[in-house]
């Protein structure tokens, strides 16, 4: 049955429409997250959303989960505290390319390294939307931004490569256009024990488009659609041919031990080693 699942999850006390611009991909990604949570049958009470600061990080205010809209860049750090303190909870982090990879880059790699059971969805629009369109660490070379008036000269991170090198169990990329694939990857990520990173290429038709004359809503979506190739396809292409492409698919799917689980084992050992301290 076709269902508009998201409506079962919108906060009853929150006004709509939301704050995002017309054609912004953030709403699409949020609804994919909600569908993924829904399809796993997770309880609303025990699924916590955590975000930082950015247009994308506004997402948790709209959906009816316990949610922490933290400080810029620290979403994964807040989330680590939540998950450690109560490992029963399902913790989903919503972050941007700025929030998660610029100021938050350290927490990103350390969360991956610890492989703590959190799923982080990176709303990657290759720009700082919230602050007016500055270049982000995922912006392509030669794109423009408020602080890249001569074209960006910094090479972008490949979010998936970084996450894999840092140790995350599950790493995948999808786009806002490929909403069904996106939902599937998020679902796999949440289901996976350990840290999951889902890098989502999403359009900012307001600021990215303003600085890059990238057209309006549909133009940006079409560009994303047309530039997307699969990992399999990418392997057949030369670096030059891949230049402008968005490579989607699953980059890592492995089973390193999960952090809170190992910690629980440690607690067992520690409890056993409680000595009778009272001697006198």
């Amino acid at each position: 049955m076709m269902q508009d699942i998201i409506h079962q999850y919108l906060r009853p006390s929150k006004k709509f429409p939301h704050v995002w611009c017309p054609g912004c991909g953030d709403g699409i990604v949020l609804s994919a997250i909600v569908r993924a949570i829904h399809s796993l049958g997770k309880s609303k009470n025990e699924t916590v959303l955590v975000s930082g600061i950015g247009c994308s990080s506004r997402a948790p205010v709209y959906v009816d989960f316990p949610a922490l809209h933290g400080t810029h860049g620290r979403a994964l750090a807040f989330a680590t505290g939540i998950k450690m303190a109560n490992p029963e909870l399902t913790v989903v982090v919503i972050t941007g390319d700025g929030d998660g990879l610029a100021i938050g880059g350290n927490h990103f790699i350390h969360a991956c390294r610890r492989n703590i059971d959190i799923t982080a969805v990176v709303f990657n629009n290759s720009i700082y939307g919230m602050t007016g369109g500055q270049y982000s660490p995922t912006m392509k070379v030669n794109d423009y931004g408020a602080t890249a008036p001569y074209g960006n000269i910094e090479r972008p991170f490949d979010v998936c490569d970084l996450a894999s090198a840092a140790g995350a169990n599950f790493v995948a990329r999808a786009t806002a256009y490929h909403a069904i694939m996106l939902e599937k990857f998020i679902k796999m990520g949440i289901a996976k024990k350990g840290l999951s990173i889902i890098d989502v290429i999403t359009p900012c038709p307001t600021l990215y488009s303003f600085y890059n004359k990238a057209g309006k809503n549909i133009d940006m979506m079409e560009s994303i659609r047309d530039r997307t190739i699969t990992i399999q396809k990418a392997e057949q292409l030369s670096d030059a041919e891949k230049e402008d492409k968005i490579v989607v698919g699953i980059f890592a799917n492995r089973d390193f031990p999960e952090y809170t689980g190992i910690y629980s084992d440690l607690m067992e050992r520690a409890k056993r080693s409680v000595k009778d301290e009272e001697l006198l």
């Binding site: 933290g70 680590t80 505290g81 109560n86 909870l89 409890k271 301290e277 001697l279």
Partner: protein
Amino acid sequence: MLFYKLYKDEQGRKVGFLQGNEACLEAALIAGLKFFAGYPITPSSEIAAVAAEKLPMYGGRFIQMEDELSSMAAIVGASMTGKKTMTATSGPGFSLKQENLGYACLNEVPCVIVNVQRGGPSTGLPTQVSQGDVMQAKWGSHGDHPIIALSPSSVQEVVELTIQAFNFAEQYRNPVVLLMDETVAHMREKIVFPLAEETEIINRHHSEVDPQKYKPFDTSFGDIPPFENFGSEYRYFITGLIHDEYGYPTTKPLEVKNLLDRIHRKINDHTQQLSLFEQYQTEDAETLIISYGSPVRSCLGAMEAGRKKGMKIGVLQLKTIWPFNPEIFTKLPSKIKNIYVVELNMGQLILEIERVIKRKVNIQGINKYDGLFISDQEILKYLEQQQGKKS
């Protein structure tokens, strides 16, 4: 690997010969600590080491985060699940925690932040004593934010005030800073841990309202809104943006003002309850020495030695630094002609004291900031010099 042992005394109380840092974590366990996140820094590191060993023994969890920013974030996140949480650091790390400390203040998240003060500014004197972060404890984060800060002068007081810190945090839904100093943190003294029945442990106040009606910043119960755990049937949203009673961002001027007023009022209206201090021989004193933290010890020594010489010295020890309680100072016996404020910094809390004492009295700072502890002799010598009594 613990470097201390605990024994039981005749009354069944745990006793030990512990460092301030070790005592701090043991006391935190008594207070109900369940989660510690930290990043090592001298002279606070032993707190984390003890936490790493002891917490998992008693069902708590420890994590060493990648830095202080994330440590602070982690204890705030963990506190949202209803756990009592703590971090420990020193000056440089305290500076790094400020942004997220402000977040905790705005969202009224109970948690305890230990700052074992060492010589500053910057990397400063990592292994030496200081009280250089007193003003930072109040003003370190941007924007007006309410803070509670306590400062112990002995290892036994570390126990007392650590438990108090957790209690205040829970009771007032506010972060509490435990301002230790290197001397108190690293010295070993005999301490006696209180029995369960001797210890009041306060837990955050929960709501009884229908989950549908719950507002995380509900003001209808007074200035301290009831708290509900993430993971419970109460679902809500918190943000570092100024928010309404639902926790949703607002820019409505009245809502903004109401929120800021309330979170400050909830502390300021309870200044008397929060204000812990001790007076020693102030009844007949003409000279008052005011201090806090480890220098109080030397002040008491100077008082004793001075009194032997006929000087009418009294000592006022502040255990609560913030909120600052003007009443203590406006109500001082009028016999007091000279006030000396002893601080291991260049003069910080004296600024507040000067501000609130309106009557004509000589107020002077005795300040040491060369990395060494101040001795009773030094204080006494200064007093004698000042009073022209040097014989």
